[in-house]
Amino acid sequence: MGNISRRTMLGATGGLIAGGLLKTQADALVVAEEAAGLQAAQADPTKMLGGPTSVLGQRAPVEQPRRGMGSPAATGASRTPIEQLRGIITPADLHFERHHAGVPAIDPDRYELLIHGMVDRSMTFTLDDLKRFPAESRICFVECSGNGGAAYNRNAPRERAPSQIDGLFSTSEWTGVALATLLREVGINPEASWLLAEGGDAAVMSRSIPVEKALDDAMIAYGQNGEAIRPEQGYPARLLLPGWEGNAQVKWIRRLEASDRPSMTRDETSKYTDPLADGTVRQFSLVMDAKSTITFPAFPFVLPERGWWEISGLAWSGRGRITRVEVSTDGGRTWVPAQLQDPVLSKCATRFRHIWNWDGGEALLMSRAIDETGYVQPDLETQIAARGEGTSYHYNTIRPWKVEADGRVFFAQGEAQ
């Protein structure tokens, strides 16, 4: 509403109705949105009739989280403000973005998914067809393979918020048809070991996916948090590969080709591969290892006073459930188990909490996740020793946060060695 007064707004809305200008549904929407805006800042809400119902809800005026981004770009990214979120679900309009040639505008009535190659029947499915198959829903994370790159550096800048490090990470309830159901319908051949997944965007995004994963828990998703997938997330349908790197979960999916070898597309060769210190490059490194990060307290928050504060954050693993998260307030000398908030789901964000009595002195906060395979989130030096300083992607090291005596909190990779 800005600084437009309530009187002005009432006048404008009333005039629109009185003047007979309320002709379309869009006009009605504008009126409803303006009326909802009136809910801001009533001195005593018990002494004034509240706002009416509306066709589309909005956030409270002072609660306006935004994705973090640099300048808008079709080939860029935007980040989920994880430090501003509660629980584990990411609102769909705050789900991170990573596009390689912008967001396409796809007509759902013309949309088709083609499945061909090493199958008994090459078939196409409309969006209505996909929705007619037995559906399934699951809550899981999607994470960019390059998430956390800002933390893989002994000299990482101190003034970094959790979203600036790990904001290429979001969690949604996804609904769609199991890819196994579609592959059953087309009769995928037993000799087929790879699927080329291809998007209908201007990148004609393409990745090779092992059939084993496709038959395990992959989904062609058309729903996100109860509604249609957002255009930025692949409308009208995308590939979902729970626990795997986001790049492989091709959005706007238009084609799946079954074959017995990978296509070696750009994004599985020159990009999204992990060079190692021994001179090799790890390829098809698709699973996201266990990771956690404290989202509170963290930069730029300032603890205003000593006393009891709840350390809170997110943990996840692409290999299954998180079984334990440990928190340290003394730079890793001692660790205590954090509380895990139900539900603790496989390949899904898990909220952890640890109540902490801050004594007003300096403190170095850390979290480390352990998953059901027994994998323990490593510290930076351990991962550098295993992979090398120049490696790319899959940065899942412990994120340390330094609390200064004045209450300011900074990202402290360099101080945790």
């Binding site: 080939t75 390689h100 040639a101 083609l114 499945i115 061909h116 029947r121 090459s122 078939m123 196409t124 499915f125 409309t126 067809d129 007619r132 198959f133 037995p134 550096n153 319908e185 291809e198 201007a202 990148a203 004609v204 393409s206 238009r254 084609r255 080709e257 070898r261 296509s263 070696m264 597309t265 750009r266 060769t269 020159s270 591969t273 992990d274 060079p275 001179g279 090799t280 490059v281 790890r282 390829q283 098809f284 490194s285 698709l286 699973v287 299954g320 998953d371 395979t373 027994g374 994998y375 323990v376 490593p378 351990t382 991962q383 295993a386 992979r387 090398g388 300083e389 120049g390 490696t391």
Partner: protein, 212 residues
């Protein structure tokens, strides 16, 4: 079961006429999950699914051909056509250099050309090394596949097969991988051996206590 409905009562008070839309209907009991012999068959688990749901339709060969543009290292499905280094320079100068630089090294977008460092393969060891087609890409066919599907970025998919083979030839020549008189086509492009080819290995991470 009926229940008193606050919302229906209030919406009736403030906006007469909306009750029919927003009013509460009496709760209906859940229907038992059992076959209804009059209206159809209820299947309660995947084990009882029919062999086919008969949803979707057969794709025609023409539809498949229109979308089946990928082209892997073995050269199967490589389209006909060919392009020389000289022809590639012409296409590159006109359509690629504005983003990738006149010699493929100036940017502002991805640097395509460069063989340094020629000794070893220090990308994992050393931070910040630039990965180019010449020093990192394992397969020459990927150049065709990628350029064909999405370049130039302002007019993706607009190049002919001849132009894409030619651009691939020019980029490979600038990277000192093929000679200036080479011609790329469905046979010669898959045969090009890239310098980094043997560096690529399968993922050996597998969960458990090991940090890899």
């Amino acid at each position: 079961m009926t229940r008193w409905c606050v919302r229906a009562a209030l919406s009736g008070f403030f906006a007469a006429g909306t009750l029919a839309v927003h009013g509460c209907a009496p709760d209906t009991p859940n229907a038992p999950n059992a076959p209804d012999l009059e209206t159809g068959t209820v299947v309660s688990s995947a084990a009882e699914w029919p062999g086919s749901f008969a949803i979707g339709r057969d794709a025609t060969p023409a539809e498949i051909a229109a979308l089946n543009i990928d082209f892997g290292p073995d050269g199967a499905d490589a389209p006909p056509g060919s392009g020389s280094v000289a022809e590639g320079k012409f296409v590159y100068d006109g359509k690629c250099a504005v983003c990738h630089g006149v010699t493929g090294q100036e940017g502002p977008m991805a640097q395509l050309v460069g063989r340094e460092p020629r000794e070893g393969f220090p990308f994992g060891e050393t931070r910040g090394l630039l990965k180019t087609v010449g020093n990192y890409w394992p397969y020459a066919t990927t150049i065709f596949d990628y350029v064909n599907r999405t370049m130039p970025i302002t007019s993706p998919g607009s190049l002919t097969a001849n132009e894409v083979y030619a651009v691939a030839a020019y980029i490979l020549f600038l990277n000192e991988i093929i000679p200036e008189d080479a011609v790329m086509n469905a046979q010669t492009l898959p045969a090009v051996v890239m310098p980094a080819r043997d560096r690529f290995v399968p993922d050996d991470r597998e969960g458990g206590p090991a940090v890899r």
